[in-house]
Structures are given as structure tokens and as C-alpha cells.
């Protein structure tokens, strides 16, 4: 990539300017490596070691258990729903914030960040207060025989709430940086709103969208707190993978528990790799921007 060349030259120049003496550097790097090993690598190794502690057969039979399969299905379903909806919400919110000026814009930005600052348990509790038997809409829902709480809708709602910021957060700075000139150019060339969005805006933000979706998905599949409050822990019905991990662990079914945990760990690893690749694309998009 010829575009990357100047950056490398600059970082090489910066190497020479580092003033810390070698021993200090050595100590700092060693500390970082030890820390990462103890807190990140070791737990990851333990998860896989425990999962395979009774052999590969036990591992796969734990995963093909009906309860496990049901949890995997539910997790995938909830992730698909929340990622899908948050993709739309996120793009719409980022579009509104980045491309238009209106009153209450800062308020909207803080509102988008709200799920990050609220404890997931509280997020779950909100839905219990709204949809529970004693909640605001609970009696009405019950009389119409609509099940929200302790069923898929509440799990999906709680997950959507918790994962809402990811797509919007990934897109707002990107769209703000890109500005509105390309859209204005498209409109003055006769493009309609939809044509402008699909031909100009979306291609420009596609890596940011993927990035947001990736993080959103990882969180949606891994969410525990909020989902735990609204799920009701009905076996084979409303247990997601993280919930099942806890239940199995409390029942001393370590292999099953860690087998499912290993799936989540793999998801995390894949996410990490994909994230690195996407970040590279995002950087490139920025260094080659038209200015």
C-alpha cells in the first residue's frame, strides 16, 4: 500500500526519539505481558482446557445436548433480531446527528450512550417494570394473551437496549468527518434521497457499519445481566448461551458449561480478528479521503 508508506517512515523516526532507557522499557513491556497472560490468555486457555477435559467426545455431546442447542438457537435468533434492528436504528441516528443540525442534538448523543452507562441489570429491570405482571403494560398484555416477559420478545428488547450504541457510535465520528458535501453533490446532480443514500452515503460508511455490527453482535451474543433479569431461565426455552453457562456451572456440569463457554470464547476471538481487519480498512478509508 503506497498510501501507508509515509506513516511507517514517521513511526520509524519516532522510534529514535524514544528516551526511555532500555531497562525501563524492558520492565514496562514485561509487566504488560505478564498482566495480559494472567488476565486474558490464561482464562482463555482454562476455558478450552476445561471444555476438553473429558475428551473431544464429551465436548461434542455437551454441545449437541437439546438444551445447549436450544440456547444456541435462541442466542442466534436474539442476536439476529437485535443486530438487524440496531443496524437500522444506528444508521438513522448517526445520519441524523452527523448530517443535520437541530436543537437537542447533544442530548440525543448522550441518550444514545445511555445503555453504556446504565448497569445491564437495571436495563433488564426496566423491562420487568414495563412488561411484568405488576408493570405498566403487564395487565393489558396479559389480558390480550401476549407474552413479552420471560419470553423471546423481552430477551430481544433487553438485548436491543444494551447493544443500541454500537452501530451509532461507530458511525457518528465517521459520518461527521466525511461531512455532507458528497451528498450535496449527489442531490445537485439529480439523485433522489434514496439514490443518494445507497449510492453515496452507504458505500462510504460500509466499513464503519460492519465494525459496528461486529461489536453489536459480540455484545448481543454475550449479554448476561439484562437478559438474565428478563429471561425467567426456562430451560430449553428462554436460556441464552451465557445464561446456560452459568446454570450448568452451578450444577457442577463443568464440561458442558465450558463447552458452551468455549463457543463464546471463539466468537470473541473471531470478533477480535475481524475487528483488526476492519480497523485497517477504516484507517485506509481515512488516509485516502478526498481533501
Amino acid at each position: 500500500m503506497p498510501m501507508k508508506q509515509p506513516q511507517r517512515v514517521m513511526s520509524a523516526a519516532r522510534d529514535d526519539l524514544r528516551t526511555e532507557p532500555r531497562p525501563v522499557r524492558f520492565v514496562i513491556i514485561t509487566l504488560a505481558v505478564i498482566f495480559l497472560t494472567v488476565f486474558v490468555v490464561l482464562p482463555l486457555v482454562v476455558v478450552f482446557a476445561q471444555a476438553f477435559s473429558k475428551g473431544v467426545g464429551a465436548y461434542f455431546s455437551a454441545l449437541s445436548d437439546p438444551e445447549a442447542l436450544s440456547a444456541i438457537r435462541l442466542t442466534l435468533l436474539v442476536a439476529a433480531i437485535s443486530v438487524g434492528l440496531n443496524l437500522v436504528f444506528g444508521i438513522v441516528a448517526a445520519w441524523a446527528i452527523a448530517k443535520f443540525d437541530f436543537r437537542g442534538k447533544t442530548f440525543l448523543i448522550s441518550l444514545i450512550d445511555l445503555p453504556f452507562s446504565v448497569s445491564p441489570v437495571i436495563s433488564g429491570l426496566v423491562f420487568v417494570l414495563l412488561f411484568g405482571a405488576q408493570g405498566y403494560w403487564g395487565p393489558w398484555l396479559q389480558s390480550h394473551n401476549i407474552h413479552v416477559l420471560f419470553a423471546v420478545p423481552a430477551i430481544a428488547l433487553a438485548t436491543i437496549f444494551v447493544t443500541f450504541p454500537f452501530v451509532a457510535r461507530a458511525l457518528i465520528p465517521l459520518m461527521q468527518e466525511q461531512g455532507t458535501q458528497e451528498e450535496e453533490a449527489a442531490i445537485s446532480l439529480g439523485a433522489s434521497g434514496l439514490q443518494t443514500f445507497f449510492r453515496v452515503t452507504l458505500p462510504n460508511i460500509k466499513w464503519g457499519v460492519l465494525y459496528g455490527v461486529l461489536l453489536c453482535n459480540a455484545r448481543a451474543m454475550g449479554e448476561f445481566g439484562a437478559v438474565s433479569v428478563v429471561s425467567g431461565h426456562i430451560r430449553g426455552e428462554t436460556n441464552t448461551m451465557p445464561l446456560l453457562v452459568e446454570i450448568l456451572y452451578n450444577e457442577y456440569q463443568f464440561v458442558s458449561s465450558f463447552a458452551i463457554a468455549s463457543l463464546l470464547a471463539m466468537l470473541a476471538l473471531i470478533t477480535l480478528v475481524a475487528k483488526t481487519i476492519l480497523e485497517r480498512h477504516l484507517d485506509e478509508g481515512q488516509s485516502t479521503r478526498v481533501h
Binding site: M3, Q181, A185, S188, L189, V200, P203, V290
Partner: protein, 347 residues
């Protein structure tokens, strides 16, 4: 297509970007909107294009109300200062964009689009860059592609927002001449915005000078330069020497001392005397309205630029003199303005 703007007002919060602007542009004209940043010229251009909406006023194209239509329906080609090329499309697709988004009923077929894009790339002399991406082009090339893209829809009006503002001096100069000959060739009504007076004077048939949301003078480049309507125009267009003077009973005084020049009907009171640098005639000591000591001389090309400290004050002025008479630091010289203007007021 002719453009007429009447009583245009546009406020951003409490700041009046346009404060009652009237302008007529005839079919086929090439007009420059000239003014410092914040004078409202870009806002005016964006309102004509339909990218902004006025708070009050009218915009008509050939007598037809343009404000009834959005940017999409106005058929106006707009060239942005920072090009605004679609970064994920090749040069070819950038130029083709306006043709591809047309409603199916009027859209050209693929062969027709290709032919038109080739024609436009030929026009801007960049056909060999068709498969490149905007990030691979130089600034001047990007600007020409942006122009080709705007021309693809056969606009009725072409608007250019500081088209050469982001380019280096040499490329800018080339593109100016090129834009002028291009306008001559396609003859579409065009308005371009610039804060560079040289650019405005060189390219346009007519110059519209703006200041603080108002049009302060409209005229040919020669007119605007030779007969500035206000102190602002005199100071903004061309380098000027500005001296605070007092006018009373037809006498012009600088720091209490009477200058040997006529007040030319200027009103009494505190005023400003404007002289072009090259309009100060240099003679021997005692020969002109002013006298001063040369503090510093630099020569470029045909002129020598001298810093002269005027006698009896701390005022230092810069003058441009021909090189027929060599000036040296320390010389006492007499200065006589060949042409000058006096505007009332201290600012």
C-alpha cells in the same frame, strides 16, 4: 438562463449571512462573487443552487420561481471547493453519476452514458484518468473532474464555490485561463465565488463585491479596480495605501499638516485617503504632497517596493515605483499621488 435574486436574507442564529441581496445575472455571463470570508458569498451561491434556503427574498431563473424547487430539480451544476468527488467511485463513475441517477424515462442507455462521459473527460483533457480513483489524482485534476461531473447533467447554470481555493498558485493560474476558455466554449451562465481579487478580475466578465452580507459594488473588473465605490472595495481590491486624513474647507490635512491635494468634493470631517501603491509618484525632496525617508527597498521584476516613513509622523507606507530611478535606504523623497480617493469615516 438568466438568474435574478431579490431581497435575499439569510440568518444563522443572530448572524446575518445575507442582508438584503439583489443581483441579476444575464444568460451566458461569467460573474465572480468576490469578498472576504464571512461576507455571504458562499451562502448566496448555495441558495441559488438550492442547497440552502433563504429566510426572505426571491430567486428566479428566467423569471420562474426557483425556490419552488429543491436542488434536485433545479438543474444547476455545482462545483465544490473541496471537490466533493465520490471517493469510492472511479473518475468515470463520478462523471457518469448524474446520468445514472436520472429517471428511467429520460436516462440514456449504457452506450449513451459511456459516450457522454468520454466526451466530458475529453473536454477537461483527463480521459486517460477514467479508471483512477479520486484519491489518486492531484488537486487540479480533481477539480477538473468535479467540473466534468457537474457538466454531465447539462446544467442550465454552473456555480463554482472557490473552485481554485485549495490549489497551489501555479495550478490555479492555469485553471483560471482554462475555465475562461471553457466558459467561452460552452457558454453556460456561471457564477463563481472567490476571495482572490486577482482571480475575480482575471476570469469574470463582471465582478460582484460583497461585504458583511451585502453587495457593495457590481461592475466590470476594470471598473471595480479603478472606481471603487466604497473604502472597503478600495481596500479589498488591489493593494492600497490608507492614510487617516481630515477634510475641511476643501483642504486635506494629515496630522494637522495641509497636503497639497484637492479634496475633490469629499465631505468635511475625519476621512480616509486611499492611494494605490503604484500611483505614488516619487520625486526629489519637497516635490510632492508628502515627504518621507526611505527605510527599506526591495526589488522584484519591473518594480522596486520601498518602505517610506512619512515626515512628521510615525506612519510608514509601502510604495511601488518603477526602476528608472534607483531608490536607496536613507533617501529623502517627495511623493505625489497620481490618483487617489477620499472616503468619509474612520472605518
Amino acid at each position: 438562463m438568466s438568474i435574478e435574486v431579490k431581497g435575499l436574507v439569510k440568518k444563522f442564529g443572530t448572524f446575518a449571512a445575507l442582508d438584503g441581496v439583489d443581483l441579476k445575472v444575464a444568460t451566458g455571463e461569467l460573474v465572480a462573487l468576490l469578498g472576504p470570508s464571512g461576507s455571504g458569498k458562499t451562502t448566496l451561491l448555495r441558495i441559488i443552487a438550492g442547497l440552502d434556503w433563504p429566510d426572505a427574498g426571491e430567486v428566479t431563473f428566467d423569471g420562474e420561481n426557483a425556490l419552488a424547487h429543491g436542488a434536485r430539480e433545479r438543474h444547476v451544476g455545482f462545483v465544490f471547493q473541496h471537490y466533493a468527488l465520490f471517493r469510492h467511485m472511479t473518475v468515470f463513475e463520478n462523471v457518469a453519476f448524474g446520468l445514472r441517477v436520472q429517471p428511467r424515462a429520460v436516462r440514456k442507455n449504457e452506450a449513451g452514458i459511456r459516450a457522454r462521459v468520454r466526451e466530458l473527460l475529453d473536454l477537461v483533457q483527463l480521459d486517460w484518468l477514467a479508471d483512477h480513483y479520486p484519491s489518486q489524482l492531484s488537486g487540479g485534476q480533481r477539480q477538473r473532474i468535479a467540473l466534468a461531473r457537474a457538466l454531465a447533467i447539462e446544467p442550465r447554470i454552473l456555480l463554482l464555490d472557490e473552485p481554485f481555493g485549495a490549489l497551489d498558485a501555479k495550478v490555479r493560474k492555469e485553471l483560471r485561463q482554462w475555465l475562461r476558455s471553457l466558459h467561452h466554449e460552452i457558454n453556460v451562465t456561471s457564477i463563481f465565488v472567490t476571495h482572490d481579487q486577482e482571480e475575480a478580475l482575471e476570469v469574470a466578465n463582471r465582478v460582484v463585491v460583497m461585504d458583511r452580507g451585502r453587495i457593495v459594488q457590481i461592475g466590470t473588473p476594470g471598473d471595480v479596480y479603478d472606481n471603487p465605490a466604497t473604502a472597503f472595495v478600495h481596500g479589498f481590491i488591489g493593494e492600497s495605501i490608507v492614510l487617516p486624513v481630515d477634510v475641511s474647507d476643501g483642504c486635506v490635512r494629515l496630522g494637522g499638516k495641509v497636503l497639497g491635494i484637492r479634496a475633490d468634493g469629499a465631505a468635511s470631517g475625519a476621512s480616509k485617503l486611499f492611494v494605490r501603491r503604484h500611483d505614488m509618484q516619487v520625486g526629489p525632496a519637497g516635490s510632492g504632497a508628502f515627504e518621507g525617508k526611505v527605510r527599506h527597498v526591495r526589488t522584484f521584476g519591473p518594480i522596486q517596493r520601498a518602505e517610506v516613513a512619512l515626515s512628521g509622523g510615525e506612519t510608514v507606507i509601502e510604495i511601488d515605483a518603477p526602476r528608472d530611478r534607483e531608490l536607496r535606504t536613507g533617501d529623502i523623497v517627495g511623493l505625489q499621488p497620481r490618483h487617489y480617493r477620499i472616503f468619509a469615516g474612520q472605518d
